[in-house]
Amino acid sequence: MSDQTGKQLSKEEKDARFEAELLPVLDPLYNFAYRLTLDEDDANDLVQETYLKAYRFFDYFEQGTNAKAWLFRILKNSFINEFRKKSKQPAKVDYSEVEGYYNTDDVEGEGGVATTTDMRTESVQDLIGDEVASALNALPVDFRTVIILCDLEGFTYEEMAKILDIPIGTVRSRLHRARNSLKEKLEKYAKSMGYNS
């Protein structure tokens, strides 16, 4: 089992090492899973499955290397192999369900952002976040993925290429197209915020 490390770890040692090295990635991993599945239960299952797989293959994980990229890659593969098949609908694009309370049309109907100026800054931040989430969730999953990996998790192009099993050139072009789509979706909103001259 432990060919790679050379010496056999006891289960306690292995578990301790596993928890110390891989559990700190739980938060970004869960967020990634959620942004892929757009469902908290699915994200839960996906993350759990990812950790179990990682545990099974932990002997092949080189200590001190990029644990985060390694786990993201396992999760992405699980998502493609199992979850995409399971949920037959072409990703759950119904973001209104997920993002809940805030309705874009209402705000625009009532004179748009003008109504938000009295709000606390925090609420305005929430509002922008909701718009971004809506726009992002409406993108095809491949586009959503590269934007999350790059802009939210700060992976390099090289790391993204490894996580996604695609050449760096493809990472670049996919990211480019993804941003164009996102831009399009956010444009109306951006204009109303005075971002787009």
Binding site: Y30, V132, L152, S197
Partner: protein, 93 residues
Amino acid sequence: MEAKFTEAYPKAPDAAREAECGRVSDMLDLMIDGEASSEEQRFFNDHIEECVNCFENHQKQKLLKGLVSGHLKRVIVPQSLVRSIKARIQETL
């Protein structure tokens, strides 16, 4: 301003400038993602100093990235998930 501008670039005809803009436009993502080489960065920064259009495109692209990195809410990991991961690992041999 105009005179100074022409003086600084006496040998850059429109076609050459347009080609530069094209190259700069292709580099937008590299720049905002911190993936451009130092040579590319120098070329890019020199260009946007003189080209309003490309300067604005760069601002917009940075803003777009900032909207995701700065405003997208993170979801909270349920405590039960940590517990169940640990439990399932413990029972795995």
